[in-house]
């Protein structure tokens, strides 16, 4: 509500077009209440929150401790649990080892092609998982200069890749590393580069400044990135199915187990294994939150 006479412009000799004559009040204006806005947004927003909670509740309700123990007693599922723990950990470690230099370079340096590199790093995040798996399969069997990556690995490392646990790790790493890089880049962005510069004036080489000044500040972010990479690896399914196959007691990880149990009509076992994975995911979430990070 404003009186036209208060407006400095209205004090000029010729009143502005549309201005009220001095002394006349503008009609009182009612903005109306805010609660319909809040009510509508809360109602719409809670649909999704409730959906997620309902999903978890449904899983818990449709299984029992007996089913869980039965599932865990199966040798195939025990194998899958072990393989999952091992492959996820290796893939997450690899993601940190490879992702840390990449994230640091992207965070600290402006260089030609930087945007292109960042775009490439988004590809694994948006690529359909099956396509990624197929691409891995093709890459390892693509003949270049009379040989393939697969046969090189066999000849020099004495191991097969496709349809082995090695392929599981590679498939997990291919996606998890992109998430680790994103997370670590945020970590390094938050650390003041000035401290490294001062460290260098104090006599540090770049590697010393990195190890003595940056890493001690970044460790929470590194653990969070490791956890995120681990969780991504846990959920990986499509690329593993295509590149590593779903052979019981050989390349079966927990996400594969859910698929295999479902495909033979073993709903209870599938749900029980799902619950194990949900528990693992919740632990991951708690770790990341405790460290002040975000999962996505």
């Amino acid at each position: 509500m404003r009186r036209a006479a208060d407006d400095p412009a209205a004090g000029a000799e010729a009143p502005l077009p549309g201005a009220l004559p001095p002394g006349r009040m503008e009609r009182p204006f009612r903005a109306g209440p805010d609660w319909p806005f809040h009510a509508a947004f809360i109602a719409i927003g809670s649909v999704y929150v409730l959906l997620v909670v309902a999903l978890l509740a449904a899983d818990v309700l449709s299984t029992s401790p007996r089913h869980l123990l039965e599932a865990l007693a199966k040798p195939e599922i025990r194998f899958a649990v072990r393989l999952t723990l091992v492959t996820c950990t290796i893939a997450a470690l690899l993601s940190i080892v490879v992702g840390m230099p990449l994230a640091y370079l992207l965070s600290r340096h402006e260089f030609r092609g930087r945007r292109a590199v960042e775009a490439v790093l988004d590809i694994p995040v948006v690529l359909p998982p099956l396509v990624l798996g197929l691409s891995l399969l093709i890459l390892f069997h693509l003949p270049v200069a009379g040989t393939t990556l697969e046969s090189l690995a066999q000849r020099h490392l004495g191991m097969r890749v496709a349809y082995t646990p090695v392929a599981v790790v590679i498939a997990q790493f291919a996606v998890a590393c992109a998430f680790a890089v994103h997370s670590l880049q945020v970590t390094f962005d938050r650390i003041d580069p000035r401290a490294e510069q001062v460290a260098r004036t104090l006599g540090c080489r770049r590697d010393q400044a990195f190890c003595r000044v940056v890493l001690p500040q970044a460790w929470r972010g590194v653990v969070a990135a490791f956890t995120i990479a681990w969780a991504r690896s846990l959920g990986e399914f499509g690329p593993i199915l295509v590149f590593a196959g779903a052979t019981r007691m050989r390349t079966e990880v927990l996400s594969t187990t859910v698929f295999l149990e479902l495909s033979v009509g073993q709903l209870e076992a599938a749900v029980a294994v799902s619950l194990i994975m949900i528990a693992a995911a919740i632990v991951v979430l708690a770790i990341v939150r405790l460290l002040g990070g975000k999962v996505a």
Binding site: D192, A195, Q197, V198, T201, L202, G203, P216, Q217
Partner: protein, 224 residues
């Protein structure tokens, strides 16, 4: 002795053109200028954080224009101090010595002496997150002096502290600088600091550095 001859440094869109200045050995040089005049760019050019596109920096007669940062032997205190948040005060004072692989016992003695002379001996076990402005500045100063640099660069070291702290730090700076005999270049916008500290005075305006007689500080007005 620090000599800067025709130093040209680019910093984003800013260009510091052909700066000339010199501070004799053991002297206290003050460079005055307003915010945005190129003070920090000049300091970064001298300590090597920004590459020089022309000109030269000589320290005690040795050309260090292209030398790596670590080899220059310059103690640098940036405006925001940039203390290491994960380290204690003691770690700060011993950092440059550990990097230089000075024996442990010697580090302990030198850190203790340095802390004593900066009047922060009671703080050495503490982290740096909850230090007061004056304490944090003493730690940053100690870190920069710890390896006995040939040149000390101070970027607005007394900005953003209260008046009483500023007075005490002014006295401390002058005393420490005499004790260590280190050639110092102190950048500020405060005429008062220049009056109290300078042996030799420069003014920087729009990226151009000019020498001024100390007598010019007697003129009225507190700020550049």
């Amino acid at each position: 002795m620090i000599e800067v001859c025709g130093l040209t440094v680019r910093s984003g869109g800013f260009r510091l053109a052909a700066a000339d200045l010199g501070v004799p050995s053991g002297g206290y040089g003050v460079l005055m200028g307003r915010t945005g005049s190129g003070k920090t760019t000049l300091l970064e050019g001298i300590c090597g954080l920004r590459p020089a596109t022309a000109g030269a920096v000589r320290l005690d007669g040795i050309d260090i224009t292209g030398a790596p940062l670590a080899a220059r032997g310059i103690g640098y205190v940036p405006q925001d101090l940039a203390l290491f948040p994960t380290m204690s005060v003691r770690d700060h004072l011993g950092f440059a010595l550990r990097v230089r692989r000075v024996p442990r016992a010697e580090i302990a003695t030198r850190v203790a002496a340095l802390a004593e002379s900066l009047e922060i001996a009671h703080l050495v076990e503490r982290g740096v997150r909850d230090l007061s402005g004056g304490e944090a500045r003493r730690v940053a100063l100690g870190r920069a002096l710890s390896f006995r640099p040939r040149l000390l660069l101070l970027d607005e070291p007394l900005a953003a502290v209260d008046e009483a702290t500023r007075d005490r730090l002014c006295v401390l700076l002058r005393r420490i600088q005499r004790e260590h005999g280190v050639t110092t270049l102190h950048v500020t916008h405060s005429r008062d600091e220049a009056r109290r500290l300078a042996d030799i005075l420069y003014v920087i305006e729009h990226g151009v550095v000019t020498a001024r007689p100390l007598a010019s500080l007697a003129a009225a007005g507190d700020d550049a």
